[in-house]
């Protein structure tokens, strides 16, 4: 017993180091599994409010540019509205809508690491829940991963863990959208069969398979495509519409039918 205590006292720094290293490795590896990194995310109250304050100071610097973007988006939506067949005067029953949107602002963006997370200034108080889709006026941005009362952290599409259903516009060929960590304006679309006719410049949009995003939200255009190792599927480089280094205003989308879809899916999983 004496020897053990002596041993511990003698090597206390090394032991402390090993202990702390193990703790941090445990946190890191633990959060590699889905939805486990509860503690280490920037949507917590302290960092959220600090980022919010910092954003309050810096937001004035690019107000002009933001306004331009919003006006551009309004213009697009206006022209859609004028050319659609819905009468403006007819009452539109919003309770019948499948998707609801909530507007928010990015208070912390990141795109330089391999697993990027974005913090937004909307949380459970505003009705944000886990697994809601986040988009901008230009295209898709990510999926809500954690929420606190006033903030939420969003798993960006620039995250090696991200995997989003996407398809080629006006077709029904879908694949999964992943990121290889190489460049912040480029993602990869995998699993498109080789018989699909492709052209450089084709538009990629979100697919109908996911219950998170509505169908046909723009993602990007095909920059380059190649057959993968097995020679039966394409590996497509997609250039994003969004400039991920410069995004501010976002919309969070909630699919009202999602709980129902999930219930069905778990039933199938249980039956198997």
């Amino acid at each position: 017993m004496q020897q053990i205590i002596n041993f511990i006292i003698k090597y206390k720094t090394s032991l402390l180091y090993l202990l702390l290293l193990l703790i941090s490795l445990a946190f890191t590896i633990d959060s590699h599994s889905y939805h486990r990194s509860k503690f280490f995310n920037s949507s917590n109250r302290i960092s959220g409010s600090i980022y919010n304050t910092a954003d309050g100071i810096t937001r004035y610097f690019n107000l002009n540019e933001e306004n331009k973007k919003l006006v551009e988006e309004n213009k697009k939506l206006r022209s859609l509205l004028f050319n659609s067949n819905i009468e403006d005067t007819v009452l539109i029953d919003t309770t019948k809508f499948d998707f609801t949107t909530i507007a928010g602002r990015i208070i912390k963006n990141s795109y330089a690491s391999l697993n990027n997370y974005i913090t937004i200034n909307r949380g459970t108080n505003h009705g944000i829940k886990q697994d809601m889709g986040v988009i901008t006026a230009q295209g898709i941005l990510g999926i809500v991963e954690h929420t606190t009362k006033n903030y939420a952290s969003v798993q960006s599409i620039l995250n090696t863990k991200s995997n989003i259903n996407a398809k080629i516009k006006n077709t029904n060929y879908f694949g999964s959208l992943v990121w290889d960590g190489r460049s912040y304006n480029q993602v990869k679309l995998e699993d498109i069969p080789r018989l699909v006719p492709l052209l450089v410049g084709d538009t990629i949009v979100t697919g109908a398979m996911s219950s998170i995003f509505p169908e046909n939200i723009p993602i990007g255009t095909i920059k380059k495509y190649d057959l993968n190792v097995s020679k039966s599927f394409y590996s497509i480089d997609v250039e994003l519409f969004n400039d991920m280094s410069n995004v501010k205003n976002v919309y969070i989308i909630y699919n009202k039918n999602r709980p129902e879809i999930l219930e069905l899916e778990t039933k199938i999983a249980n039956d198997q």
Binding site: K12, T13, S14, L16, Y17, L20, L21, I23, S24, L25, A26, F27, T28, S31, S37, F40, N41, S42, N44, I46, S47, I50, Y51, A54, K108, N109, S110, Y111, A112, S113, L114, N115, N116, Y117, T119, S153, G181, R182, S183, Y184, S245
Partner: protein, 169 residues
């Protein structure tokens, strides 16, 4: 004397964390370079202090950076490593001088200081990016990130070091 000591270190800790998360984590120089200047805390921290406390402080520093930057506990793992290895690195750089009671960082030559800082940065960055990328097939990516971010960190740390040079230790 001692209370002002803790005071200074506490302020340094808080300021470095804030500067790191609010300024340097957003730099994204060339799209991927985010210098990690908070390493300076471990460089500046008094040498004669208790090692256990120092390792613990290193862990806390890394953890607070992780808290802000959604990096799980990667910063914590790498800072605790350099906090643990610091005496070894110092012995390597400064030789037996380091053992003397009168040893002061400000009394050493410029080259020695830079070597010491570089070794701290390299160890930290290798640890950090290896854990972040976590695959040997991306060895080139790890190397690229370590080298470029390391150079940026070194330059900024040296600038900060000369800006807030520690006169009394």
């Amino acid at each position: 004397m001692t209370s002002s000591y803790y005071y200074i270190n506490f302020i340094r800790f808080a300021l470095l964390v804030l500067v790191q998360v609010l300024v340097f984590n957003r730099l994204n120089f060339f799209g991927f370079i985010n210098p990690m200047v908070y390493i300076l805390f471990l460089y500046w921290y008094p040498i004669k202090e208790n090692r256990v406390v120092f390792i613990f402080l290193g862990f806390l520093l890394g953890l607070s950076i992780d808290f802000f930057s959604d990096t799980m506990a990667l910063h914590a793992a790498s800072t605790v490593t350099i906090a643990y290895l610091r005496p070894t690195i110092m012995r390597f750089v400064f030789g037996v001088n380091y053992e003397f009671q009168s040893f002061k960082l400000s009394n050493t030559t410029r080259v020695q200081q830079i070597t010491f800082l570089t070794l701290l940065i390299v160890t930290h960055h290798v640890m950090f990016f290896t854990l972040e990328i976590f695959s040997l097939s991306n060895l080139l990516l790890i190397l690229k990130k370590v080298i470029f971010t390391g150079i940026a960190t070194l330059i900024l740390c040296l600038l900060f070091g000369s800006l807030f040079s520690v006169k009394k230790e």
